[in-house]
Structures are given as C-alpha cells and as structure tokens.
Symmetry: C2
Subunit: 409 residues, 2 copies
C-alpha cells in the first residue's frame, strides 16, 4: 500500500516555515509498513492543489494533505478536495457545534469566518478527535482516500494517531500489529555501530521481522530502532524483547536508554535510585548541562545546581580556581572538587578545555572532571565540530562518563 503526503501552504515554499510535518508523517507511515514514495509541497493555489492531489492519486492508494484547513481566504484545501472528489461542500452542523463550543469555553463568540471550517466535501467524514477549530477529514474516492489534517503539528499528530494510521492499516488489509522500540547509544561512531550490527542486520533482512534501522541524531546519540509485527500485542512485544537482548549483547553499555529517555533523564534516574545529588561547573558547556538537567529535574531532587563562571575574576573568587589551570587536566579535577564543595552535593562535575581561554581558537580537546567522596577523575575527549558543537558534545560525553561509572559500580 502506498500513501503520499501533500503539504499545503505558500509559507512552506517561501521557506518561512520548515515542513517538519511531512517528515513526521513519513516516519509514522514507515513504522506501520506503508510506503511513502513521494512528498510534495504546494502553495495556497486552487489549481495547483487540485493538480497535486490528482497526480498523487495516480501513483498512490492514499494521500494525506496537511495544512490549509484554517478559517481564512487562504485556506482552500477543502475546496480543492471537493473538486477532486467531484462534489460540493456542505455545512456540517455537528462541526459547527464543536467549533462554537470551543469559542464559548474561552468566553468568546465564534467569528463568522470560522463557519468555513465546518463546510466539508459531501461524502467526507470528520475525524472525531478535533483538538483545534480545524476538523480533520477522511474523504473516500472509490477505493482510494484523501485525508486532510491541519498544519498545526500537535493537532495533526493526534488525528494521525487516533484515526488516520488505524484507517490506513485497515485499508491495507494488514491485521498485523506493528510496534517499534528505539535504543539510544553513545560512544561508538556511526560506522563502528554499523559494523557491529551488520551481521545481525543481514540475518534479519531475509524475513524482515523484526527489522533494525539506524537513526543518527547528533548530540542526542545514535539510535537503533527495532520494529516488529505480529498478530497479537504480546507476540510483537516478545519479538522486540528478544531482538533487544541480541542488540544489547552486541552493543553493551553503549546503550544508555530507550524511546523517550535522554542522557540527562537516565543519569537523573540512576542518581535518584542511589539517593545521590550532583552539581556542575560549566566552562566549556556554558550552561547547556544546567538547562537540560534543570528541565528534567526542576526542583533539584538530584541536580543541586549549576555554575557558569565566565570571567576569570569570578572563577578565582567564587571557586578559588587559578586562571592558568583552566583547560588542563588538573584544572578539571580542581574544578569538579570545588563544585562539589560549593554546592554541597555528592558528586561534582566540570567541563573545561583550552578553548575556554582567550586567544585559543583550537576547539575540541575537552577535560571532563568528576569528583565524589573518593576523589577526582578526569576523562579527556576530542570532540568534533565547531565551538557550539563542542559545547553540546561535552555535556553528553560527561554525563555518559558519569553513567558508566555508576552502572559499573
């Protein structure tokens, strides 16, 4: 079964908005085994939208069009679909009610132009879950179908998950349940990871259930996605579990988490289990670790605090650190220890490198300091990329070093 995506909106063509919706949809179609061979962007122009939809229906069984369902004159997706279906628009009193109530609940009266949103092609059905004023539509055309969803990402996501993906699965005749699990790794390069998994991927390629896919996502780590299908939820979960065990056997401790976990959420969880607190002084990372940790642990159960001392005066006075130790191994040790004392936490962390000194343009070589009651250790990493990337990579590298220390204990 094939399903293409048509993203509608002149602002997409002008680059004023980046079309992340098509990527999200493509990812979710792939996960349920539906091919999406074309994705198209087209502006708010009736003729060209109609054209794009007709072209899509020549090649595919289903089309998801995204955007152009708002209340203004620019929003002409409904009209274009009606033309492709060869029908008129008609006012749906249920949708009128839904939109009216939405305005009333905010203490406002529905403006007249929102009535446009309730005019839908004859023969189309509105998607029950409607988080905003724009209804999603399911528009059958013979054996084919056009779906219409709003361009607002969270509205689109809800409609895809509640109605469109299930409908596509039903149409594709797939009775199978399909599920994925993403394992996140840090430490191996992309090519090394591919090497480690190549035999296993070859073995799997024959029966295609489960499958393994790579997703590089920069400073968030490298991801390995296991996708399995089966007739019952329990058989799918068991296939994924077995495959996960094999992948974990091959990749070991480089796997730091799965699905929605991040390096910082994993480290916070590990520390919380052990009733430990931590703090950090960020020379190289300049606040990035504090931002991430405070987002996951806003009330400081584990993360006691972060310090970003920029001027040498500040560093000397607050932490008692001598300027010429910055960017050195000893500096990272002292800094981690001073941080631990300063915040009164169980663990003190620090990032520093030569790039933290004026006049040192060479970025990359970074010392990661860890201090606890047993003393201080430093890990030296050579990080790729420009200053901004080095700052980012220093955080995930340091948190990963701490993670490995904790789990090896």
């Amino acid at each position: 079964m094939r399903c293409e995506v048509v993203a509608i909106g002149t602002e997409l063509l002008l680059g004023q908005i980046i079309d992340t919706n098509s990527s999200w949809i493509g990812d979710h179609l792939a996960q349920i085994g539906i091919d999406s061979l074309h994705q198209t962007k087209v502006g708010d122009n009736h003729e060209r939208i109609v054209d794009a939809l007709k072209t899509a229906l020549k090649r595919s069984d289903a089309v998801i069009c995204c955007g152009g369902l708002g209340p203004t004159q620019d929003d002409i997706t409904r009209e274009a679909i009606a033309e492709v279906m060869g029908v008129e628009l008609e006012l749906d009193p249920n949708i009128v009610e839904i939109i009216k109530r939405m305005f009333e609940s905010r203490g406002r009266t529905m403006p007249d132009n929102n009535l446009n949103q309730a005019r839908i092609p004859k023969g189309a059905a509105a998607i029950a879950k409607q988080p905003g004023t724009a209804p999603g539509l399911i528009c059958p055309i013979g054996n084919q179908v056009i779906y219409a969803v709003p361009g607002v990402p969270y509205e689109m996501h809800q409609m895809m998950e509640s109605a469109i993906l299930p409908d596509l699965l039903k149409r594709s005749g797939t009775k199978a349940i399909i599920k994925s699990k993403v394992l996140k790794t840090w430490g191996y390069s992309e090519s090394r990871l591919a090497e480690l998994l190549s035999n296993r991927i070859e073995q799997l390629d024959e029966k295609r259930n489960p499958t393994l896919a790579f997703l590089a996502s920069g400073i968030e780590g490298l991801k390995v996605r296991i996708t399995a299908k089966g007739e019952t939820a329990s058989s799918v979960l068991s296939t994924i579990e077995k495959e996960e065990a094999i992948v974990r056997g091959l990749l070991g401790n480089s796997i730091f988490g799965s699905d929605d976990e991040t390096m910082e959420s994993v480290v916070i969880k590990l520390l919380k289990q052990r009733n430990l607190t931590m703090s950090i002084t960020e020379l190289t990372s300049g606040g990035i670790a504090s931002t991430r940790l405070s987002n996951k642990d806003p009330f400081g159960e584990v993360f006691a605090g972060g310090l970003v001392p920029r001027s040498s005066k500040t560093r000397e006075r607050i932490l008692g650190l001598e300027r010429d130790l910055i960017g050195t191994e000893e500096g990272a040790k002292n800094l981690a220890k001073a941080t631990r004392d300063f915040f009164g936490s169980d663990i003190g962390l620090a990032t520093t490198g030569e790039h933290d000194l004026p006049g040192q343009s060479a970025a990359g070589k970074t010392f990661l300091g860890i201090a606890d009651s047993k003393g201080e250790r430093v890990e030296l990493v050579k990080l790729p990329g420009d200053y901004e990337r080095v700052r980012q990579f220093s955080v995930i590298s340091l948190l990963n070093a701490l993670r490995l220390e904790i789990i090896k204990k």
Copy 2:
C-alpha cells in the same frame, strides 16, 4: 521565471532527516524574485527521480535537485539527470584531480568509488566552488536547466550563492540587484505588528519595490524583512535605508536588532559600549540565558557568570534567599540583588515564577528582576505555552527589559 526544488533521498521520505534544504532554497529564490511553486521529495530510485525531474521541467524553467551526489550506490542523481538530458556520463579529469587533492590534503588516498562523483552528464558544467567531494552541476537542457547540489547544507549554500543564484538571475534577464534586510522585534504580538504595518504594506504593494514580509520565529522574536531591487548596489541600499527609517518610525523601540543580531548579542554590545558587566540567577530559565550569553561572550568581558541553583538548600546557602520568596516579586528583587553581589557585577538579573516551586503546575506568570547600583526593579510578564516555552520566553523578555532600560537612559 519559475524554479522548482527536487530533494532526493529515501531518508527524507522516511523522516530520518528533515528537509531544511528546500526551505532554505525557497527562501533564497523568493529573495531574488524567482517563483518556486512546487517542491518535491523523492527517494533514491532511478525511475522516480527521472519522473520527478521531467514533471518539474513541464512546469518550470529551472530545477534545483538536492542530494544523491555522494560516492555510494545509493547516489544516483547524476545518472537520472543524464537520462533526462538524453546523454551519457563521462569522467571529468578536473574533478578527479580536485577530489584526489582533497583526500591527499588529509593524508589519505582517494577510494575508487569516489571516482563516481567525477562522472558527470555530457554537456554539464561543474560548479567551480566545491567545498566537499561532491561537485555541483549546471546541466542545460535547451532553454531550461537542471542544477544539482549536494545535500550537505553548507556545501549546498556555498554553491547556491556562488553559482546558482547568479546564474538564475542572468537567465531571468533580471539586471536588477536585489538585497534584503531583516529587522527583529520583541514586545508586539504578530497581529499587533501586522496592524501597525498594514497601511505601509498596502502602499508598497502597488509598486512592489521595496516589499515588506513578516517572519515569525518564536523565541527569536518577530522579523520584518525589507527587500529592495535596483540597478546599482547604492540605489538598493538607499531604498532599504529609507524603508528602514519608515518601519522604525512605526515600530519604535520594539526593534532590537537586524540580520544576524540576536537579543543576547545586542544586549552584550550595549553593555560593552558602556563598560558594564552583568550576571544572572536562573530559576525559571534554568541555564538558558547562561548558555546564550556565554556563547556570544565566551571570555566574560560583559557576562560575569550565571548561577542555576536548583535545590532550596543551595539557594538558601549560596544566595541567602528564603524559600518562600521564590516565585514572588520580592523574591525576584532579592535574587537580582544577591546575584549582583555574588558575582560582583554592575548588573544582576533573575528569573522566577510560581512554576519554580514544587506542586505549582501553573506556568507562565514570571517575575524578571534587574538590580544595579540604583536599586532593584521587577517586571511581571505572563508568558504563553508550556514550561519549556516559558523558560525560553523568560530569557528574551528579561534581556529585552534590560535593553529598554539601557537605551532609554
């Protein structure tokens, strides 16, 4: 003149990579007055790439295809273009030399499969500027043209700017020079901004030179882009300058910067001119301000430092702040003053709100504290969105409040 974009790569359809290239190209085409009415994504499949290119040439004068110029078997853009042109590929010895030298300069030998990158359609010309191993191509077909650029963004940007945009301008017969200037604003909502500028935009719409366009970019502020064309660089600049004066007259101090400037770079510049230093304690923002400020001022000429004290114990001990003042106006004042003292800077800043206390899920109401030698002030802002957005918005709101104080003096 019309030019469409064809982005090539199965990973784009699968949503493993978001296609930001097409948006960048669309934006830059619009800036030089060339219409881009269609943008298409297609996978690494010979037949479908050929199809996409032929379809594009039926509707447009030029096509830019992006991606699929690497050395592997998946990279088949060259072959597809050759088929559309009705020619063979031939080895270009100049390109072979360029790629060889690139490997040699890194102390490596060119692998054989990189020779594929030097095989280009007969009649095509390589783009002189080639930052990576993939050459960009200009492939004329009668009066039409296909351009091919690599999918690596910075390689694509260089080729677009050095060769493709100038070539398109020449082909379009436009002798005009086109330039833009972006003014960045903070403080007005998008609809209020539209209201303030609506008369002016109507006036301009008649002659279309200069033009004004809006670009919303969330926490980076709302942007107003002035685009002008003319026969000489000086006449274009003078058109932009005149328009800028009019827009500044309408929007006043809400304009905080232009083009590559950010709120933090502007505040740092203003403070540096006045020989002032500043520091911040980030309860609500949790490290975001420190990250941004340290990125623009890494050696602390202006930014003395940031503190992210998460646990109440830390706050009490380090800053002497009482827990029950957090999230209040008085708390923001005390915090700003304590920060100023702690870092020994001229100005102390602070962000706090009820959302910084456990059990207070309501986010948004945020107190922004500013302390200097004259005392403390607090600004209360109600910020929209979830916790993450409130954290982000609190930073630009606070820095903007400081900016307005400085320039009003």
